[in-house]
């Protein structure tokens, strides 16, 4: 069983709120691995919209994504990609 981890800052304006949060969760849900995303002391299940919203991670916030499972690396890559593309938003 593989695991992968990365810490990165959110580049888009609103961070993990509103539509970006939905996109994040929907992307995570595609993978079988267990995925968590944490901000400071708080940890959330990346497949739970309520928990992800509850992180209150705004634009520029630093988050750590951790994936554990057969497709852990792919999951991490997909989420990193989403963040790098700023969730498809202009800002």
């Amino acid at each position: 069983m593989a695991s992968a981890e990365a810490t990165l800052a959110l580049l888009n304006k609103v961070g993990l709120h509103a539509r970006p949060a939905s996109q994040f969760v929907q992307t995570a849900a595609r993978f079988s691995s267990k995925i968590t995303v944490s901000r400071q002391a708080r940890k959330a299940n990346a497949k739970s919209i309520l928990q992800v919203l509850g992180l209150g991670a705004g634009g520029g916030a630093e988050i750590t994504i951790q994936a554990e499972g057969d497709d852990a690396e792919a999951a991490l890559e997909a989420l990193k990609q989403l963040i790098a593309e700023k969730f498809g938003e202009a800002e």
Partner: protein, 612 residues
């Protein structure tokens, strides 16, 4: 609360936020959403127990799945008919209902405490909603409300007998009504139809209220942010007039006003289909008279955020924004936003505008135009909490900024930075200018901000014209001097009319005086354009008159080069102006200036223009 005496309230005008343009007149229907408690009570018992946890869990799963599916369908519908952004709300609600963080605790409550599905999901949802709202962020608080909205949907599915939802209650009325409520959830609003709802009026609802955005998309006139106190005076069945473009509510309007409202409403509703077709035809066409004189037709926006900017250009064909009202920044907040937050807000709007407009399309931002007459807590704070006896003649517009130049500096810096970042052809204008000295002082703040930003290496637009709103009578008389100080004029006909005729626009009994067709107003406009022309200063109009089919041609005939109006009026005005020549319009203006009474001007405008 005592019952209001109809005779006292009759003829009264109340002011709220202009949420969705259009006029409506009808009987009030007050909607009170079912509280979670009501739905539970209807479902069987306040906190009912079950003897069959497995059956309850199954029922819960089914209800969650069904509600989720409904929301996804609604999302797709809204995405097609309204906007992607709005559709996102319903999609997020669907995801919340599918979230194990919600359903697992609910199932545990069923197992451990023998609660029934409705009670269990309500408790679980409440807890999650409260957790979201406990976070400091405003956006997250809104998600708490979304979760509750979604919960209502689930509860409705769980009960066999449920309180009729809004759509059902409206259908039961038998005729279209004016819908009045404290607040409307996105779910409630998305399903409203003009066949049932003539207009909407809410106590809450700031500028970016989803109800407002949805109402605009549905073409239903709406006034939001009326305040709870004012709302408490409205009663079921009471006749109410509503002007969505102005944000005004008329309680029990007098016969003359009533007739006007009814007329305007009928025309508005009949015109809706036609307007759609016109909008299609004129979306990408620039406006010009029949003999080829271009007239810039622009949009007045501000309360609807980036979506409104997008819709104004992409749907209604705005060739620019002639008035960006920046007061939206102040609603729903106790203090003024700092430069950074303003920068973010402006950037979002400018970006949306730039994405859909041709390069170089102008966007005119008006610096904060607030005063004691607008119920904005942040401004009340600034005014030191004291109320003014005459807010219309009080500390408002540029006066507040000249008293607090740091605020003006911050706003200008944010506007300039946003324009630099997005490449928008920004223009800036100061409201309520009454003296030459005021323009110079405000301009000095602008120049200092520009220097500062240049020194910081900020990316700035090539050139930002700095103009003024002409609305104070003194500005009319000083027009030639002001034309040398300002880069452009924008005539605020609403306030100009009020001040020139010394008639309170909110006083229902002065309707005939508060009318832009009054000879005095026409003469004032002529004076302004003459002075401006001599100094090479372009003149725009951004008041109601600009979007009026009778007045717009007259304004052009008087020398106005740009008309800025509610976006929905744009296609009609473009089409109308395309059918007349400039010489016809100047002749019309000359004739109008020779008339002496309002009635004469009305008669002239009614008979001499080609009917639509």
């Amino acid at each position: 609360m005592t019952t209001s005496q109809p005779t006292k309230s009759a003829g009264e005008t109340l002011r709220g936020v202009a949420a969705s343009p259009g006029v409506a007149l009808g009987a009030i229907f007050i909607y009170t959403p079912p509280s979670a408690h009501t739905n539970l009570a209807i479902a069987g018992a306040a906190e009912s127990r079950t003897s069959s946890p497995d059956a309850e869990k199954a029922a819960l799963q089914q209800a969650l799945a069904e509600a989720s599916a409904e929301l996804m369908t609604l999302s797709a519908q809204v995405s097609q008919e309204i906007s992607l952004e709005e559709a996102g709300i319903f999609e997020a609600q669907a995801m919340m209902l599918q979230d194990p963080t919600l359903s697992e605790p609910a199932e545990q409550l069923i197992d451990a405490q023998g609660l029934d599905a409705a009670t269990a999901i309500t408790q679980a949802a409440e807890e999650q909603a409260q957790q979201l709202e406990a976070l400091e962020d405003e956006t997250l608080a809104a998600r708490g409300a979304d979760l509750r909205d979604a919960l209502q949907r689930v509860l409705r599915l769980l009960s066999d007998v449920s309180a009729p939802d809004l759509a059902e209650q409206l259908a039961a009325q038998g005729k279209p009504v004016i819908l009045v409520a404290r607040d409307l959830t996105p779910s409630d609003t998305a399903r409203l139809r003009p066949e049932q709802v003539l207009g909407i009026c809410t106590a809450l609802g700031g500028p970016t209220a989803h109800a407002a955005i949805l109402a605009r998309a549905l073409g239903i006139p709406a006034v939001t942010g009326l305040g709870e106190e004012a709302l408490a005076r409205l009663q079921n069945g009471m006749e109410l007039g509503l002007d969505g473009a102005q944000g005004l509510i008329y309680l029990l309007p007098a016969p003359e006003l009533r007739a006007q409202l009814l007329d305007a409403m009928k025309q508005g509703r009949a015109g809706a289909k036609q307007r759609q077709a016109l909008a299609e035809a004129w979306r990408s066409r620039a406006c010009a008279t029949a003999d080829g004189h271009p007239i810039l037709i622009a949009a007045n926006i501000g309360s609807g955020g980036p979506e409104e900017a997008e819709t104004a250009v992409a749907t209604w064909g705005a060739e620019g924004v002639g008035l960006l009202r920046t007061e939206f920044l102040l609603s729903d907040r106790p203090t003024l936003p700092d430069e950074q937050e303003q920068l973010e807000q402006y950037t979002a709007i400018f970006q949306a505008f730039a994405t859909h407009s041709r390069p170089g399309a102008p966007l005119v931002a008006r610096t904060l135009d607030a005063g004691a007459d607008k119920p904005l807590p942040a401004i009340t704070l600034l005014l030191g909490g004291a109320s003014e006896a005459n807010p219309a003649l009080g500390l408002r517009g540029v006066r507040i900024h000249l008293a607090h130049p740091d605020l003006l500096r911050a706003q200008l810096r944010a506007l300039l930075r946003a324009a630099g970042a997005t490449g928008v052809a920004l223009h800036v204008m100061f409201p309520m200018i009454a003296t030459v000295d005021e323009v110079r002082r405000a301009r000095a703040v602008f120049d200092a901000a520009w220097q500062e930003l240049t020194g910081e290496g900020a990316k700035l637009p090539e050139h930002v014209p700095v103009g003024i709103m002409v609305e104070a009578p003194s500005a009319v008389l000083l027009a030639d001097q002001l034309a040398r100080e300002a880069d452009f004029f924008s005539i605020g006909t609403n306030d100009l009319t009020q001040y020139l005729l010394a008639a309170d626009r909110l006083n229902g009994r002065l309707g005939h005086l508060y009318d832009a067709r009054q000879p005095a107003v026409l003469h004032a406009i002529a004076q302004i354009t003459r002075a401006a022309r001599a100094a090479g200063c372009p003149v725009a109009v951004c008041g109601e008159a600009a979007g009026d089919t009778k007045l717009a041609p007259l304004l052009v005939g008087l020398g106005v080069e740009e008309l800025s109006m509610a976006p929905a009026s744009i296609p009609t005005i473009k089409e109308l102006l395309s059918r007349v020549t400039m010489s016809q319009l100047t002749e019309l203006a000359e004739r109008a200036l020779g008339l002496t009474t309002l009635e004469e001007v009305q008669a002239l405008l009614n008979t001499s223009l080609p009917s639509k």
